[in-house]
Structure formats: structure tokens, C-alpha cells
């Protein structure tokens, strides 16, 4: 079933995936008196924000049947470059932030060119980019964190609260999710991403310039990587060049748990948001319950299987 139109059926579906999240929420609320506290919920949302933003971009790429392994270290490179622009070069705040986004777009551009024009498998192209970005982050930063202590207002970007009580990082995540949702279901970029994922050859024969659009899609995904990098840097008030590896797996997991198919053609942004929330909630809840670290892993693994299986049962064979 086409899970991108917000038809009735689909709204129901996502309501139910949301239901899975609610079950987890209710469970932890009962299990721990500290869980359902606004401070804690805020903590969960904050913990979701950066991975969540990365996952938004990854959803677009996965919609085409591709994969993006470079989101994690790419995000790092973006925060390092934001650091260079703002802390080292002292550029104005807006320029630095836009610069960070531009680096994300550039990473996406290279990924896109490699995938579309050199016809490299996305796994390879983005794996290579993952390494290159990691290396460059270290090289450019001189393997040292870049601090934003002298950049007034930068920390407020993610840490401030435009909406009282809601950290900006979370607000940015939500706004980004809406943008990603609109992109996926209402713009040519999203439509072609789904068409390419559904049947690339048929899309090409239908007169769609598949290669060009693939590049566009990766660039848009890169913008989300860039945004994640800026938010990360702002939240830590520093660019940490050593961070990032492993985030790609978390982001992709959020996408897939949300119900987007790795084969392409089916994607849902709301699902991705819920997937990211499920991951963060699980980790948080288990920690709140003081489950030992090693058992947390086991529990998360099992819950993921159960959650996705329940979701599939509900959706029937169409999933």
C-alpha cells in the first residue's frame, strides 16, 4: 500500500505506529514514576533531535532504494566546518550556519554525483564519503574540538527556547520534519524519489531525468545532514571531530522502524519521526529504570523486533 498519501487508511496506520510508541510510553510511565515528567520527556525529545534530523534526510535517500551511510560523519564534518566559519574565521552567525548547511549539501552533491553519474552502488558511494568526511573532520579541526564559547548566540540556536519549555533543537527537528514531509509527498523531489525507488527504469523511460533528480535528492538529504551538524554543534557548544560514527546506523534504524522500505518506493516521514522517538524513548526508559547497560542492549533489540512485528501484523501482508 502506498504509504505516502495521507489517505484515511494511512492516517490510521500511522496512528497505530504511534500507538506502539504510546505503549512503550505507558509501560515506562507505570514502571518508573520519574518517566512521565516534562523534564524527562523534554530529555527524550532532545535526545531524538539530532539523530531524527539525520533520519529525515536518510528517509528521502532510502525512498529511492538507496542508502546513506555518510550521515553520521557527514554531520560531524558539517559541525566542524560551522566551527571553522564561526569560531575560526569569525563570520557572522547566519553565514556560518548557512555555511554548515552548504557543506551538507556539498556532501550530498558528491554522493549524488557518484551514485547517479558514476553509477556506484549507494552503499559504496556513501561508505566512501563516510570515511572521507571522518578523515576531513579530523584534518580540518586538527583533531581538536572547536569551541563556540566566543560566538555569541550560537549555543542558543539549539539550547534556547523560542517556545517556552521547548528547546529550540526540538523545535527545529519538528519544523524539519514538516519540511521533509512536504518534500516527500508534495514536491517533485519526493515524488521522483518514490518513483525511482519503485521502478527506476520505468521512471527513466517515462521521461524523468533520473540522474539529475537523484543528485537533487542526495543534495536535499545533505541539507538535513548539515542541519543536524549545526544543531549538534550548537547543543555541545563545540564541534567534536571524533564523534559521528555509528549515528548513521541509528538514523537508518529509525527510518526502517518507522516503516520505510529499504527496497525503496515506500516512505513515510511521520514514521521516521516515530521510529526515532521509539529508539530514544526505549533508551531513556531503560536508563531511568536503571537497567544495567548490557541488558539495555538486549531489551532494545527484543523490543525493536516486537514493535516492528506488531506493526507488520497490523498492516497485514501489504507491508
Amino acid at each position: 500500500m502506498n504509504v505516502t498519501r495521507l489517505g484515511n487508511r494511512q492516517q490510521l496506520q500511522q496512528l497505530l505506529a504511534f500507538g506502539g510508541l504510546v505503549v512503550i510510553f505507558v509501560f515506562f510511565s507505570v514502571a518508573s514514576p520519574y518517566f512521565l515528567d516534562w523534564a524527562n520527556v523534554k530529555g527524550i525529545l532532545l535526545a531524538t533531535a539530532v539523530t531524527g534530523i539525520m533520519a529525515l534526510g536518510a528517509t528521502l535517500v532510502i525512498a529511492t532504494g538507496g542508502i546513506d551511510l555518510s550521515v553520521g560523519t557527514g554531520m560531524t564534518l558539517c559541525s566542524v566546518m560551522t566551527g571553522v566559519f564561526l569560531a575560526n574565521l569569525g563570520l557572522p552567525l547566519v553565514v556560518g550556519v548557512l555555511g554548515g548547511l552548504a557543506i551538507g549539501a556539498l556532501i550530498g552533491l558528491l554522493n549524488g554525483l557518484n551514485v547517479a553519474y558514476l553509477r556506484l552502488p549507494p552503499f559504496i558511494a556513501t561508505l566512501a564519503m563516510m570515511m572521507v568526511a571522518q578523515g576531513l573532520s579530523l584534518v580540518i579541526s586538527g583533531t581538536k574540538p572547536i569551541y563556540f564559547s566566543d560566538v555569541p548566540g550560537f549555543g542558543q540556536l539549539a539550547g534556547g527556547e523560542l517556545v517556552p519549555g521547548l528547546p529550540n533543537a526540538v523545535l527545529i527537528f519538528f519544523v524539519a520534519a514538516v519540511l521533509a514531509g512536504v518534500t516527500l509527498s508534495k514536491t517533485l523531489t519526493g515524488r521522483y524519489a518514490l518513483s525511482i525507488g519503485s521502478n527506476e527504469e520505468a521512471t527513466a523511460i517515462s521521461g524523468v531525468d533520473v540522474r539529475r533528480w537523484k543528485v537533487v535528492i542526495y543534495v536535499v538529504a545533505g541539507l538535513f545532514t548539515g542541519l543536524a551538524g549545526v544543531v549538534m554543534a550548537s547543543r555541545l557548544n563545540s564541534a567534536q571531530p571524533g564523534l559521528g560514527l555509528g549515528y548513521e546506523l541509528e538514523a537508518i534504524a529509525a527510518v526502517v522502524i518507522g516503516g520505510t522500505s529499504l527496497r525503496g518506493g515506500k516512505a513515510t516521514i511521520l514514521g521516521t519521526v516515530i521510529g526515532a522517538l521509539i529508539m530514544a524513548t526505549l533508551t531513556n526508559g531503560l536508563r531511568i529504570m536503571s537497567i544495567p547497560q548490557e541488558w539495555q542492549k538486549v531489551a532494545v533489540g527484543i523490543v525493536i523486533v516486537l514493535a516492528v512485528y506488531a506493526d507488520m501484523l497490523r498492516r497485514g501482508k501489504e507491508a
Binding site: N2, A202, A204, G207, G265
Partner: protein
């Protein structure tokens, strides 16, 4: 009629899918030693019935008997074991495996029960092809075969079982007359007093030729079973569609075609694989037929023109040379191409009718960068109406449509795009007789509006019915151009076999 139980009998069969009642109290009986044709309009429920007989779906109600014994195959494997062999309308092939591996999948000969003997596998396939007279290389990967070649693999696979009931769902939709002749020979060899064949086709002449009786379905209901001998084709059609149709019309000679502007000129088109110096002109408002045997290179010409495959030579649109490097370029210059392979190059199977119909025209359906879905739904609904696409709604997934209705969806996509030049490759593949006529009328209407159309078709009557002029190809070359008035089936075949060297079913699907 022989005494005793029928070879295969189905009674009171009903089957529903979400939103669709595909079969409603249908019955069918196949006698020993006969070929039973099963006909009906697109979406009448033919394929669904065959899928019930072969265990792919389970009926909601009804019983099935084989030689008087009740049967309810739990799956394709069990149906095979019962002696029922099916060639489905949609291919079920593994493109990465070889022809031989495909045919014997699940039945691999092994050494010491462990190691597969591929040499033996290939030998067996070779023997099978020899017996059937099919020119296929057992070691060829299926991905390299043309649609026709794939169809032959399916046929060979079905016959590789020791089957008593052979079921064929539109096996000739992708075949030209030579291959059809081969197939009929195979069918006649197969039929014996202990066997029987169920044969589905939209080609009435074939049914006339091969079948003994004809069972007609309409809207998922049983209509009648008629003896082939003594029933006029138009009566069969009338039973199918519920009214009389006129057939066999040929176009009026187009007045003064030569005076018109050239809409598309192809000059010296060559590819490394096949085409040699193909040139022709397409006038504004003209329908040009492209005829030839399978593998003659008609599809290759189309793919080369739209830039799907690399080629040398020149293409001019409205007298101006254009560079076409990709189908996107082609569409930009107003050239659209409907592929013969709807599953691979035509449809987004997982997406709904709206998305499929909009695919070529999306940029025109946006406002301020946002896609206007309401427009898409409206346009799709119009097309469903105009082409009488049988679907519960425009949000049905393409995958769930019947074969003929899928074909109509692909056609709808190009009608919406409204190209000046339209190249249609086997446009009526799998489309029923009634709808075929509607499509002919539609194409002629488009030409009358000033669109220019190239029709590639393996059915000569179709070419003769539609085309103002006919370009005949053989082995990648143009061997002649005929005006409709001068063209006969005989004449075309003569040109199409000009070189007569041995051909194979091998086709590289282009830029795959």
C-alpha cells in the same frame, strides 16, 4: 463428448479481493483431449480463475475436481504434483539465473544429494528445447532475453513437467506469428486422450485455430461455453462484451501525406548490437507502422530514438536536428515511448493508478513547486473512464490490476503527457478485442488531431488496421516501406524475411 468425469472441473467458484469481486459463481470444465479457450474482457477474471486452479489463490467458495477427485491445491508446487502446469500471464522468472536454472528450479539434479550438476541441467534443457523446437541457449541468463524469449522460457518450463493439464494465460501476447506457429505445434503435440489445455487469449483468430470449445466470462461471471466449430467470431465477441462490434476496418488512405511536414526524421540510425543504417520519416498526423519479426530490431529503433540506448545517427524533430541522450531529452522534444515490457519499463507496480498516470506529466501538474494531487486524481479518473480501466478506484495499486488494465494505465500515462510524437511498442498487448478497437479509434483520433504516431506491433492485422504507411525491418535493417493500400500480410512477411538468416530469441534489454 467422452463419458466419465471431466479432466478438470470447477463449479460455483467465487473469489473477491478488497473492493473487487473477481469471480462470482463461475464454472468451467475441461474434457480429456481438448483445448478449451477461456475468453473475456480485461478484468473479466480469467487470470484469477487460473490462479485458483494452480493454487496461487484459494477460492472463497466453490469446488474443483481433477478426474472426478476433489482437489484444492495448497500451492503451485502441489498443483504441479497433481499434474497441472501453468504459464501465467505475468512471468515468474529469476532474471539473474540462466534459462536452464530457471526451468529446473526446485528440481536440480545433484551429485551425492549435495552438489548441483549444472552440466546435466543444461543438457536436459537443451533436449527440451530440441524437442519443442525452441531456439534458446540454456546457459543464457534470463535477464538477457527479450519478452518473447522469456515467454518461450515459461512455455518450456511448463512443458518440462509431466503435466496432464496445461494452462496458458495469454502465451502469445509477446509472440510474433512464427513463434505462435511453434507454440501451436507444441500444443497439438501435447494434447492426447489423457491431457487437456486451457488457453487464454484475446486473439480471436488464434482461438479459432487452436481451440475445441470456448468458455466466456464477463464481469467475473460465467456466460456460456460454445463449440469453436460452428460459432462465428463475432458471436464470441458479442458474448464477451455483451454487444456487437465491427472489426476488420482499414484506414482511409491518408490524403496527400507527402505534402505534410515531417514531424520526426530518423537518419542512419545504427547500434553496435543490431541496427544498421535505419532511416525513415514520420509525417505530421501520420500513423507509421513498424513491422518485422521478433528480434528484427523494432524495439531497438524506438529505444535508440529516445536515447535509452546508445546509437549513432541523427534524429530530427520538425526538421531541426536534436540531440537525444536520454528519454528525458526525448520527452523534452515531444517524443514519448510506450514500452513493450510494461512490468519493467512501464509501471510503478507498488504505486496507485494516480501516481502511474501522472508520472510523465508531473512538472505540469505543480503549482509553486507543489504537486497538485487533486488534478492528478481528476485526470486519472478521466483516463479510467475514457479507456474503461477496470479498477475499484484510482488509488488501487497497479500491481492489483489485471494485465490488460495495467496496459491501459501505461497508455493513459502517455495520453496525459500529450507528446507530439508517440512511439507505441505493442500498444494492445493483452488488451481485449473490444478495448482494442477503442484504442485504435483513440490512436486514429490522435493522428487526426495532428499527432504523429509510430506503431510497433507483432500483429500484422493491427498494423494494417492502423498504419498509413508501414516500414518493414529485418535483422536491424529497413527492408522496405509500403503504403497501406499496397500492403498485404503476405507482402510484409516477404520483406520481413528478406535475409532469412537464422535468428535467436536473444535480446539484451538495452541499457539494463
Amino acid at each position: 463428448m467422452t463419458d466419465g468425469p471431466a479432466l478438470l472441473r470447477a463449479t460455483g467458484i467465487s473469489k473477491s479481493f478488497p473492493g473487487v469481486r473477481a469471480l462470482d459463481d463461475v464454472h468451467l470444465d475441461l474434457r480429456h483431449g481438448e483445448v478449451l479457450a477461456l475468453v473475456g474482457e480485461n478484468g473479466a477474471g480469467k487470470s484469477t480463475l487460473l490462479k485458483l486452479l494452480s493454487g496461487i489463490h484459494r477460492p472463497d467458495a466453490g469446488t474443483m475436481e481433477l478426474d472426478g477427485a476433489p482437489m484444492s491445491p495448497a500451492g503451485p508446487r502441489q498443483a504441479n504434483e497433481l499434474g497441472i502446469s501453468v504459464i501465467h500471464q505475468e512471468f515468474h522468472l529469476m532474471p539473474d539465473l540462466t534459462v536452464a536454472q530457471n526451468i529446473f528450479i526446485g528440481r536440480e539434479p545433484r551429485r551425492a544429494g549435495l552438489l548441483i550438476r549444472d552440466d546435466e541441467l543444461e543438457r536436459r534443457a537443451g533436449r527440451l528445447f530440441e524437442r519443442l523446437g525452441i531456439p534458446l541457449d540454456p546457459r543464457q541468463p534470463v535477464a538477457h532475453l527479450s519478452v518473447a524469449g522469456q515467454q518461450m522460457v515459461e512455455i518450456a518450463k511448463a512443458l518440462s513437467f509431466d503435466a496432464r493439464v496445461l494452462i496458458m494465460d495469454e502465451p502469445t501476447a509477446a509472440l510474433t506469428e512464427t513463434e505462435v506457429a511453434t507454440l501451436f505445434r507444441i500444443v497439438r503435440d501435447f494434447v492426447s486422450p489423457r491431457t487437456g489445455v486451457i488457453y487464454v487469449s484475446h486473439r480471436m483468430d488464434e482461438i479459432k485455430e487452436i481451440s475445441d470449445r470456448i468458455t466466456v466470462l464477463r464481469d467475473g461471471r460465467y456466460v456460456d461455453t460454445l463449440p469453436t466449430a460452428g460459432t462465428a467470431t463475432r458471436d464470441v465477441i458479442a458474448a464477451m462484451v455483451g454487444r456487437q462490434l465491427a472489426t476488420g476496418v482499414r484506414p482511409e488512405p491518408a490524403p496527400g501525406v507527402a505534402d505534410r511536414e515531417v514531424a520526426l526524421a530518423v537518419r542512419g540510425l545504427s547500434t553496435r548490437a543490431l541496427l544498421k543504417d535505419v532511416s525513415f520519416e514520420l509525417y505530421r498526423g501520420e500513423i507509421l507502422g513498424l513491422a518485422g519479426l521478433m528480434g528484427a530490431g523494432r524495439t531497438e529503433v524506438a529505444r535508440a530514438i529516445i536515447g535509452a540506448d546508445r546509437s549513432s545517427g541523427a534524429v530530427e524533430v520538425n526538421g531541426k536536428p536534436v540531440t537525444v541522450r536520454s528519454p528525458a531529452d526525448a520527452v523534452r522534444h515531444g517524443i514519448g515511448y510506450l514500452s513493450e515490457d510494461r512490468k519493467r519499463y512501464g509501471l510503478l507496480l507498488d504505486q496507485d493508478v494516480v501516481r502511474n498516470v501522472m508520472l510523465s506529466s508531473l512538472p505540469g501538474m505543480t503549482r509553486g513547486g507543489f504537486v497538485r494531487d487533486a488534478d492528478g486524481r481528476r485526470v486519472a479518473a478521466e483516463m479510467v473512464d475514457r479507456l474503461s480501466i477496470r479498477t475499484p478506484s484510482v488509488t488501487q495499486r497497479a500491481k492489483n490490476l489485471s494485465g490488460g488494465n495495467q496496459q491501459k494505465v501505461v497508455l493513459a500515462k502517455w495520453l496525459v503527457r500529450d507528446c507530439d510524437v508517440l512511439i507505441v511498442d505493442e500498444p494492445t498487448r493483452g488488451i481485449d478485442v473490444g478495448a482494442k478497437d477503442e484504442i485504435y479509434t483513440l490512436l486514429t483520433g490522435l493522428a487526426a488531431q495532428g499527432k504523429s504516431i509510430v506503431v510497433i506491433s507483432s500483429e500484422l492485422p493491427e498494423v494494417l488496421r492502423l498504419a498509413d504507411r508501414i516500414v518493414v525491418m529485418c535483422e536491424g535493417r529497413v527492408t522496405g516501406t509500403l503504403a497501406n493500400a499496397d500492403a498485404t500480410q503476405h507482402h510484409i512477411m516477404e520483406l520481413a524475411t528478406r535475409f532469412g538468416a537464422d535468428r535467436s530469441l536473444v535480446t539484451t534489454g538495452g541499457d539494463a
